[in-house]
């Protein structure tokens, strides 16, 4: 399998009045084609920032300060002002025009809140037409309509409803429309930023299932950002656990749930409520994540870790591959290299 996306030493900084916070700190990732990568972690750990950096959409005052994001293109992308040649493209080197040609066409992004992600003033049909027109100015109205109806039909929304306005849809349907819009141009990479957070569990399950089907259908590669480990257990092939802007562990899903390596991952899995053991009290991780403006030396997790050693307080652990080909950033595994 070839890699679709390679991220090297990506660092994102937020310049605030108090100082500079590293939202994403030297993250390196390789994403194989047709795989689903789950990004998990608690709030503020940088998972959304990482997802947005791939689109070069880090919100102000954030800035990508370092790193390389290589995306594999299978075909040349032709847009009115030029051509992006196929092969690996460093997204960091692209200008605005080129980025615009890439967004939607190669990478799609689905936002967390479907209620406000659609323009209330235009119909769903217009949404589809706008997107198709933005990337293919010559497309005929009927053709765009046909394709849009086909996509909606595939997502379980009756095609007649295409002339409706967003407020006439329920939350789950709007998220389906958003997914449909994201997939309208057959992108290769889909980044879903907590796509089911604001939906109830039944709709959540439906949508996750549909996304899995669409993934097969369109040969999608997916990055699923969530704080819900249950969702990842169902859908992801690999899971990256993030903490304070760094990747703590990157393992295949099954291995991660069966045998979490990093103490943080262990603690996270501990704290997932278990229906089969009603007597068990909910556990949590004592303490709070460190202040990113004023980072502590050594491993960011050391004040909350059960296994803190002296080296943890002085040296930052790098990602190490263990003998099962799993990546972990912890001094506990330093010797097994």
């Amino acid at each position: 399998m070839t890699d679709l996306l390679r991220i090297e030493d990506l660092a994102v900084e937020y310049k605030t009045r108090r100082g500079t916070a590293r939202g994403v700190d030297n993250v390196s990732l390789n994403l194989e084609e047709n795989k689903t990568l789950g990004l998990a972690g608690e709030s503020g750990c940088g998972k959304s920032t990482l997802g947005r950096s791939i689109m070069r959409l880090v919100p102000y005052p954030g800035k990508i300060v370092n790193g390389k994001i290589d995306l594999l293109l299978h075909e040349d992308i032709v847009f009115p002002k030029g051509v992006i040649e196929k092969g690996f493209v460093n997204i960091m080197d692209l200008n605005e025009e080129e980025l615009r040609a890439l967004r939607g066409k190669e990478i799609a992004y689905i936002f967390q809140d479907p209620m406000t992600s659609l323009n209330p003033m235009i119909t769903v049909e217009t949404h589809f037409q706008e997107i198709m027109k933005a990337h293919d100015p010559d497309i005929k109205k009927e053709e765009a309509l046909d394709r849009a109806q086909e996509i909606l039909d595939g997502l379980g929304i009756s095609p007649e409803r295409i002339t409706d306005y967003p407020h006439q849809f329920s939350g789950g349907m709007r998220q389906r429309v958003m997914i449909g819009l994201g997939l309208a141009l057959r992108p290769k990479l889909l980044i879903a930023d907590e796509p089911t957070t604001s939906l109830d569990v039944i709709v959540e399950a439906q949508i996750l299932e549909e996304m899995a089907e669409l993934k097969e259908l369109f040969n999608l590669t997916m990055i699923l950002i969530t704080h819900n480990l249950g969702v990842l257990a169902q859908t992801a092939d690999d899971i990256a656990i993030m903490y304070s802007g760094r990747i703590m562990e990157l393992s295949p899903t099954e291995a991660l749930f069966e045998d979490p390596l990093h103490p943080y991952t262990q603690a996270l899995l501990e704290s997932v409520p278990d229906v089969s053991k009603p007597d068990k009290k909910l556990s949590w991780i004592p303490g709070a994540p460190p202040d990113l403006v004023d980072p502590i030396p050594g491993c960011m997790y050391n004040p909350r870790c059960k296994h803190t050693m002296d080296i943890c307080k002085t040296t930052q652990p790098g990602l190490i591959m263990n003998d099962e080909e799993r990546l972990v950033a912890c001094h506990l595994f330093g010797g097994e290299k």
Binding site: R103, G104, A108, P120, E130, K133, A134
Partner: protein, 422 residues
């Protein structure tokens, strides 16, 4: 009710009970019908009464001719409906047909006016063409557009009411010269400051002008000033606000500073200064008012854009690779336009009053030009002496016109915003 019956009944369709208990519905039907009939009778009677006593002597013919034009347009509209119902023509060609009828009628009216009374202070041709067009537009609005609007509930009624008020005043103004009982530009047509009587139904001003004539003819200046100033304001203020806040940075800072400094002046004082600089005249008056009101559009649009451009759907559009142009005009502008339209409806009413103020300080128009604003401000002094009629009638007309603009603006706003649809 069948489609054909709906097509025939046109505007009266909504009055006819189509479902439910007839007795309950028929009361509303009768009330509605009587309101419409009484309204039509009052309007027709007053127009005929005016036309018969008109100064020009041909008032009845002018009114009759324009009504005839409207009738022809109504027939054309019904013909279009019929053809459309039978599936013989496409909607586009139907509207093309109506447009052709309008143009042909307009040309005939121009010729009729030209040969009938070739030379006169006010051109008969323009009165005939304008009056026919306005009545034709009213008919088309009632017959063809209204059945579509009424699906939108109260917003449709509000819009239609507003448009009707404005168009009725426009019609009155266009044909005013030919139906007024006395020459509105002349002084000394009657006694000074006489109360309403049989000869002068609304009384006279203290300069001996007939107030009825001036009230009928006085809308022209108001309409022109309000329309020009609002169009200028809207087309400068909204794009500036949109561009400045969308781009942000220094451009935004500079434009905001300029706008705020204009905003710092009291409106009327600034308008007086600009009008004094430009000199008297309708366009100059409109420009002076426009400058005063540009900042209010700018402020409202700017603050709205700042909110809207951070909303997820704008970001979603960026993510999907939408062009800046599309984001600005399809995503941001439609969402800020409702607020701008609210400002517009206030602006209309304000522009009318500011124009009245400018006329009062002598920067508007000469006293002989019939103008509600002039009568209102001039009459306010005579009100103390007990001459209530001088300010009452122009005041009522200004209120009605402002109300019409406000209703039309509000209704259109509601119709154009899909979220408020249900």
């Amino acid at each position: 009710m069948s489609q054909q019956a709906k097509a025939i009944s046109g505007v009266f369709y909504f009055l006819i009970p189509t479902s439910g208990d007839w007795k309950e519905k028929s009361r509303n039907f009768l009330i509605g019908l009587s309101i419409v009939l009484i309204g039509v009778l009052v309007i027709v009677a007053s127009f005929i009464g005016l036309a018969l006593r008109s100064n020009s002597g041909i008032g009845i013919w002018v009114v009759g001719y324009t009504i005839l034009c409207a009738f022809i347009i109504l027939i054309a509209g019904a013909y279009r409906r019929f053809k459309l119902h039978e599936g013989l023509i496409t909607p586009t060609r139907g509207w093309f047909l109506i447009t052709v009828v309008f143009i042909v009628l307009g040309m005939i009216s121009a010729l009729v006016g030209f040969f009938w009374i070739p030379e006169e202070a006010a051109s008969l041709s323009s009165a005939l063409v304008g009056g026919g067009t306005v009545l034709g537009v009213i008919v088309i609005l009632l017959y063809d557009v209204f059945p579509q609007l009424q699906d939108r509930g109260s917003a449709g009624y509000v819009t239609m009411t507003g448009l009707m008020i404005v168009l009725a005043i426009v019609y009155m103004t266009v044909v005013s010269w030919w139906i007024v009982p006395y020459d509105p530009t002349r002084l000394d047509v009657g006694p000074y400051g006489a109360p309403p009587s049989a000869q002068f139904p609304l009384g006279t001003t203290s300069l001996g002008q007939d107030l009825l004539s001036r009230t009928i003819a006085g809308g022209g200046i108001m309409l022109q000033v309000a329309l020009i100033s609002v169009v200028v304001c809207f087309s400068i203020g909204v794009p500036l606000g949109l561009g400045a806040s969308y781009r942000g940075g220094n451009v935004d800072k500079v434009i905001s500073l300029v706008m705020d400094s204009i905003f710092a002046f009291p409106g009327l004082v600034l308008a007086i200064a600009i009008a004094a600089m430009l000199g008297p005249g309708v366009v100059n008056m409109a420009l002076a008012i426009a400058v005063v009101y540009i900042p209010s559009y700018f402020r409202v649009v700017r603050s709205q854009v700042l909110t809207v451009k951070e909303l997820p759907y704008v970001e979603a559009a960026i993510v999907m690779g939408a062009r800046d142009r599309d984001i600005l005009f399809r995503y941001v502008l439609p969402n800020v336009l409702p607020s701008a339209i609210v400002v517009m409806s206030i602006n209309f009413a304000d522009a009318i009053l500011t124009a009245a103020g400018l006329t009062f300080v002598g920067l508007g128009l000469p006293v002989t030009v019939p103008d509600w604003g002039w009568d209102l401000t001039f009459g306010s002094h005579q009100y103390i002496a007990g001459k209530w009629w001088v300010i009452t009638y122009p005041g009522v007309m200004i209120v009605i016109l402002a109300l019409g603009f406000t209703l039309a603006g509000e209704g259109l706003n509601e119709i154009l915003t899909p979220r408020l649809k249900e």
